[in-house]
């Protein structure tokens, strides 16, 4: 028995001549919230489908909860696909219970749990509403609940936040936090960096089917330099001479610049140089790189290299 919830070893998936996932390896330890990040078409969904044995990999091995096929452990896995669909004619309660049943739950128990979940997440009055009468956001919440009704050990959510308004995004975050508190291992894919930053312990960044980064969020941030963002009417080029400044980037809007610092360089030297050189500052802000910057740098570099 492994201590990994999911392990992909040198997995490749080809569709005819197109390579969707290319020699990808990654490890998801038990109990962590793992983010799959990457631009559209990076291979996130294909990776997820292979993890769930919906697709067979062309080469490489997949191990989920210590098994080669996700169907062997279907009772312990929950899955929310990217494209959300519901049986229109089914009632919310029945739908959740049906999917619970397919995960091995006893039908009566599944119905009880469905009602409990709907009430817990603010859908108590829609228990007996047909899915076609639910709003898009409500339908999506119902589907999330359907994927976790059987209290799985391991949950995979593909773009769970897409199409949700801020209030419902918060509810969904609550669902994820509750699952995490219950010790559930969670993998979710997203391209909204703020969610990943708030929720994930670890992330993997995928671009064009390849792994670009795998690690914790602090590690990810450290992988790109920090910078100072300034606004000035003067010419900022004297700052290039400052030790530790590697580049000055002109931003959108007149007079906005990012002064890029090498690792370990201190921003106060930049500030002093501004005063000395008579650079008139109207704003000066130290910026720690966000996941967004990591994403743009790594994915942008990959796109440019292609």
């Amino acid at each position: 028995m492994t201590d990994l919830a999911l392990r992909l070893a040198r997995v490749t998936k080809k569709f005819d001549t197109f390579t969707a996932v290319d020699d990808l390896s990654l490890s998801v330890p038990f109990g962590c919230v793992y983010g799959f990040l990457g631009p559209n078409g990076a291979g996130k969904t294909t990776t997820i489908r292979m993890s769930l044995s919906i697709y067979e990999p062309t080469s490489g091995t997949v191990e989920i909860l210590g098994h080669r096929s996700a169907l062997d452990v279907r009772q312990q896995i929950g899955y929310l696909p990217e494209e959300k669909g519901l049986y229109k004619k089914m009632k919310a309660k029945e739908l959740i219970a049906f999917f619970g049943g397919l995960r091995g739950m006893d039908p009566a128990e599944a119905r009880r749990e469905a009602v409990r979940l709907l009430e817990r997440y603010g859908l108590g009055e829609f228990v007996n509403t047909r899915c076609e009468a639910l709003s898009k956001g409500m339908g999506q919440k119902v589907q999330v609940l359907a994927s976790v009704v059987h209290k799985p050990k391991f949950v995979i959510l593909d773009e769970p936040f897409s199409g949700l308004d801020p209030v419902n995004q918060q509810v969904l975050e609550q669902v994820i936090q509750d699952l995490r508190a219950a010790g559930t291992t969670i993998v979710f894919s997203t391209h909204i960096m703020e969610h990943a930053e708030r929720l994930c312990d670890r992330i993997v960044l995928i671009g064009r089917g390849k792994r670009l980064f795998d690690g914790t969020i602090p590690e990810a941030k450290r992988s790109i330099p920090s910078c100072v963002r300034i606004h000035t009417v003067s010419d900022p080029s004297p700052l290039r001479a400052v030790r530790g400044v590697t580049d000055i980037l002109r931003l959108e809007g007149a007079g906005h610049y990012d002064v890029v610092l090498a690792e370990g360089a201190q921003p106060d030297e930049v500030l002093r140089t501004c005063f000395r050189s008579g650079i008139e500052l109207s704003s000066f802000e130290r910026r720690e790189p966000g996941l967004r910057d990591v994403f743009l740098k790594l994915v942008g570099g990959e796109e440019a290299a292609a």
Binding site: L52, A70, L71, Y87, L102
Partner: protein, 461 residues
């Protein structure tokens, strides 16, 4: 299997709850019952007395017509009175006899239209014939249904009779009159040739009776009754029922598959069940729907034939005994199940390739064309259940279930039943295997349905 059953149960529950299904189940017996009863009822209500006029220059033929009309009415009235008497004997409460309505009533040509020559009279009568003016029949005003113009008669009718009417499809009157005139003229001719009237009538009554016998039946009981003859035709009804049930169920299967594919429910399903379980579950669910529907139809068919056939009950009763027997019903159930699996798995595979019902319908038309063949062959096969056409079609798997059901009352050879079932089972297995492969690859496919080449590649994957 547990998971396939859960899928199947959901599928079943969803379709059974639809309005279409409920209406289908209720509508069939209603239509069937109406089919037995309404025509007779309608005839009773709608057949009003039809007024007609005669122009008869020689004045000899009007009496013939009147006599024929009177005799025709008398016959039907006698028959009805006899039936009433029997009813009265069985149930003294039966209300008093009401004489039958007259179907036809001759009226005199209205005075204002009468003219010196037939041609002028016809011209004058146009407003009546077109319904603009009415004639008097007793107390009522009626439309002039027809005008019969007799030729001048000299020994023989050299010229034909003119029959004027806006309704030429209802030929009851013209036939009646023509028969009466022919009889009259023949009788006249016989008399002219010196043949005795009684003798003529005796000769005219000569007829040959045909007793149908079936050599397969026990000695002394070889007679074949009307019900038994109907038995050979009865499977047509069942083939038709199966066709309707199959089409209904196929539509359900196709639309639910397309819905699941279009809404991407398949993806969640496939993370919980194997494609095989999913396909099996759907087939079971929809098959159950088909069986419930057929069972409901059969029960109502049985009930209506048994208790509500009305004027057809003489044939319906014995027919029931002949058709609702294990030797007919068991092969029928087997053929239905196999035929259903064959077509359902095919449609499931096709459905898995389509994102919209419209795309699916493009695939449906060739399937429909194939299904039309056994439907078109229904009558010829029933006429000669063990003929070459029936035998050849029986061995072509897509037609086998229909054609064999069609033949079943003709008692096809045992080896044919066994052989076609084996062939059909093999075809179903093959089709399930193929459909499974297409289904597995098709359900998660996006974009337009594949071309033939892509489809073949899918089968190899």
């Amino acid at each position: 299997m547990k998971y396939a059953l859960r899928i199947g149960f959901r599928e079943f529950a969803e379709h059974v709850k639809t309005k279409g299904f409920v209406i289908g189940i209720v509508l069939f017996p209603v239509l069937l019952f109406a089919g037995f009863r309404v025509p007779a009822l309608l005839e009773k209500i709608s057949k009003t007395t039809r007024a007609f006029a005669v122009i008869d220059p020689s004045g000899e033929l009007t009496a013939i017509v009147d006599e024929a009309i009177e005799r025709d009415w008398q016959e039907s009235d006698d028959k009805a009175r006899l039936a009433w008497l029997e009813k009265r004997k069985a149930d003294p409460e039966t209300p008093d006899y009401e004489p039958q309505k007259r179907f036809f009533q001759r009226v005199e040509i209205p005075a204002e239209a009468a003219a010196a020559t037939p041609a002028e009279t016809i011209a004058n009568l146009k407003p009546w014939l077109l319904g603009d003016k009415k004639v008097k029949v007793g107390e009522d005003e009626k439309e002039l249904f027809a005008l019969i113009v007799m030729p001048k008669i000299q020994g023989q009718l050299k010229k034909g009779v003119e029959y004027w009417s806006t309704n030429l499809t209802d030929d009851g009157l013209s036939k009646l009159v023509s028969r009466a005139l022919e009889d009259h003229l023949r009788r006249k001719e016989y008399t002219a040739k010196g043949i005795a009237q009684a003798e003529v009538e005796r000769i005219a009554r000569i007829e040959v009776r045909f007793d149908d016998k079936d050599p397969r039946k026990a000695a002394g009981e070889e007679d074949v009754g009307l019900a038994e003859k109907a038995r050979q035709w009865a499977p047509i009804g069942f083939v038709y029922l199966m066709f309707v049930a199959m089409m209904t169920v196929a539509q359900m299967l196709l639309s639910s598959t397309v819905e699941e594919k279009a809404s991407r429910i398949f993806e969640v399903l496939l993370s919980s069940v194997t494609p095989g379980e999913l396909m099996l579950g759907k087939l079971m669910g929809v098959a159950a729907v088909g069986f419930v529907m057929l069972a409901a139809w059969f029960v109502s068919l049985f009930a209506i034939l048994r208790f509500g056939a009305g004027s057809l009950s003489e044939v319906a009763g014995p027919l029931l005994g002949l058709v609702f027997t294990p030797s007919v019903l068991i092969p029928m159930a087997v053929y239905f199940l196999l035929g259903f699996l064959l077509y359902a798995s095919l449609l499931l595979a096709l459905g898995s390739l389509c994102n919209t019902i419209k795309e699916a319908q493009n695939f449906m038309s060739p399937v429909m064309l194939v299904l039309m063949v056994p439907l078109l062959a229904m009558i010829p096969v029933a006429r000669d259940p063990n003929g070459v056409l029936a035998q050849v079609l029986s061995w072509i798997p897509p037609f086998t279930p229909f054609v064999m059901m069609n033949r079943i009352a003709g008692d096809p050879a045992g080896w044919e039943i066994a052989g076609t079932i084996v062939l059909l089972v093999a075809s179903v297995a093959g089709m399930l295997w193929l459909a499974g492969r297409v289904f597995r690859n098709g359900v998660l496919r996006t974009g337009a349905p594949p071309k033939i080449v892509e489809l073949l590649r899918m089968l190899r994957r």
